[in-house]
Amino acid sequence: MNLDPRSIPYRVLENTFVIIGIILFSVFFSPGGGEGGGMDIQSTATFIFLGLGAVALWQTAYVRRYEYHITRDTFDIHSGVFSRREREIPFERIQNVDIAQNIFQRAIGIAEVRLETAGGGDSEARLRYVSEPEATRLQEIISDKKRGDTSERDPGAPHDILFELDQRELAILGVTSANFRLFALFVVGLSVLGSPVAAQQVEPRVALLLLLGPLVAIAALVLLWIISGIQAVLRYYGFRLLRHEGELRYERGLLQQYRGTIPLSKVQTLMIRENFIARAAGYANMVIETAGYAPGQGSDSVESAVPIAKRNRVFELATTIEGVGEVEFQSPPKRAMRRYIGRYTLIVLAVTAILAGIHLQTGELADWYLGLSLLVLVLPAAYLKYVNLGYYYDENHVVTQSGFWTRRTTIVPYYRVQTVSDSQTIFQYRHNLGTLVVDTASSGGFWGGDAIALDIHIDDARELRELVHDRFQESAKARLAGDEEGAFNEQSSQEDNTGFDNTPQLSD
């Protein structure tokens, strides 16, 4: 099958912006145009025309030469104009199938389909673009083929709506989804760098201008907050999470629409995140991580599978998906807090020392010793770090929690464990503390994937290491036995485990 012919004009337009940019650039910066005239209109027009023609020709050839086939076991793609590539993706290895549509694409009725497998960093297949119904058809076919069962397909199979974002939640999402790392950067950048620079330029009003930096920082903060809020609302508008025959499906987006699938059999870990604003309001979000990528993950960061919901509702969803029961966290030993007090004290002292060094070298920052006032924050900071740490394990899962600004709760089923280790730094050694790291194959970015129980008793860490390993071995055997019974029918055992037969009512 070929791509949709309507994708040719769209692809040309997509590239035209680039071409026009290049032409504009060449017009304004061409060597002959130093006197302000640039090239004459005719040659410019010729340039644009030629560029467009070339792009159109190339895109037509590309779309024409792009073929995909659905065979019994694989999804085959033959592509390339001059150098051809033939790629075969086994259905059972496909992790996610995503459909993305922006407003322009929706206007002409085309969509992009992405297939993810566990290998490689990029999407293994991007069909740009197919018609809307074709995209849906592909999604259906692939999820059927993945189950290795095409016989008893019920096209009107029920979609259980697990979660639907309502207006109020959307509003809360807008308020609570702020990119705090950016904020911090801005605040530090503007208040530290901005003030002295402004103060130097206008000598007499030093005191007033010193306030300018923080004021600008606050303004930037509010602006960023609003922007990231709007962004989040646009991104998650109309979010719905459905369960459909052993798969989770989600839809979201206002301008750019996404529809994706997450096979339940490929779920690696669940991560529940609460930043401090959301936590104060009793809300949380959840990321469902697979080995392919986290759903909807762009180039920037991990996005949520459940963008926002009441905390207990998120945990209910986690129970539905992964079957984790009541989670009662154990805290690390109290002496862990001593480490944080020590660490933060050292950081404050180091900062003060740097300020003092700058003062000695340049004579600026006469009040460098004020840095020591940060010591007031050490105790609360250490306490907040400590109280947000926790770990829990039961028959089927290990759960860890950490972080104050954004508290992350990672739920790892034993059968997803890749490696398990405990580690002890020389600083932890003094306190008999250690860290348990349970690694999974999820590709959840920097923060994702691993369950890390920080600063627990080293003996507990070692016992847990063995326990997690043993339970992993048991669960791996159990799953394999289950597989052999009902060949390929991974979902059935999964559903039994997760209690999907009596799906809890999730609407409040």
């Binding site: 059972e92 290895r93 566990a118 490929k266 690696q268 080995a291 997803r416 464990v417 890749q418 490696t419 398990v420 280790s421 405990d422 580690s423 002890q424 730094t425 020389i426 050694y429 008999n432 790291v437 690694d439 999974t440 194959a441 999820s442 590709s443 959840g444 994702g448 994937g449 691993d450 080293i458 003996d459 070692r462 016992e463 290491r465 063995e466 326990l467 390993h469 043993d470 339970r471 992993f472 071995q473 048991e474 791996a476 055997k477 799953r479 394999l480 597989d483 052999e484």
Partner: protein, 288 residues
Amino acid sequence: MSDGPEKSDVPPGRNTAAEDREDTSQPANGDESEHATDDRAANSGLDSPEATDQREQTEPRVPSEEELFEHTEQPKTEQKQEQLSTEQGQHSDVQQQESKPVGEMSFDERVTAADDAIRKSKRGLDPEQILEYTTDRRSLAPKVQLEWGVWTSVYVVILTLVFTFVLGNLGLDPRVGTLVLIVLFITGIIWVTLRYRKWVYQVRADAIYLERGVITHRRSLVPYVRIQHVDTRRGVLERWLGLSTLVVYTAGSRGADVSIPGLEPEEARDLQQRVKELAIEAEGGDAL
């Protein structure tokens, strides 16, 4: 490899929880067991190829019953543990019925036997076949200290040059650089020695077990079910010194590749073979 107090009677597998507790409260204990492993490495005479051949024939031995139980001993999973222990008990019965002792089989015979076992069933979980592939706790070849020493020296020299240059610019006596060199060098030697002593690996029945790290001491388990592929790798320096590195790849996101440096080439190949067979035997799904 000091002649530390003999403790080789300690079962070579993983420590029980109780032992671990002692381990941390009395650091001296940990040292002793390290010496014990050092001794073992020294005794096995890793330097001569003949010795390696010998070891190859004797090492994959039938483990004691104690070792069999070690892998399942876990205070917090009592029910399952009992189950497993009885299973393992049966396994050791089977073991006694075997006509040809594993120790007398040549390496090739063992490989063939393992292949047969795999072919017989998808889960060729004949406990004997698995256990003969396991090893006790082993240290790296002492030569690896030389390899690390060379790298450390390079870094030390570069650091010293940079430091001296900076000091010179600040108008301080450049001879301080010599002092820096000495201090860094001694630190480097201590670090290399400690790193060597801390390194332990073990091919267990169901996972590779690794202990390593000076500043951060890590103990990891890499289950065979999760292994994607196994490499042996030899850099230029490693080839000169006659060393080899085993690299085990998993699909994990953190430390996805686990490497065991400082192996004799024969041993690396032997390990690769063992791990490969065990990984095939433990086959389960797509390792995700």
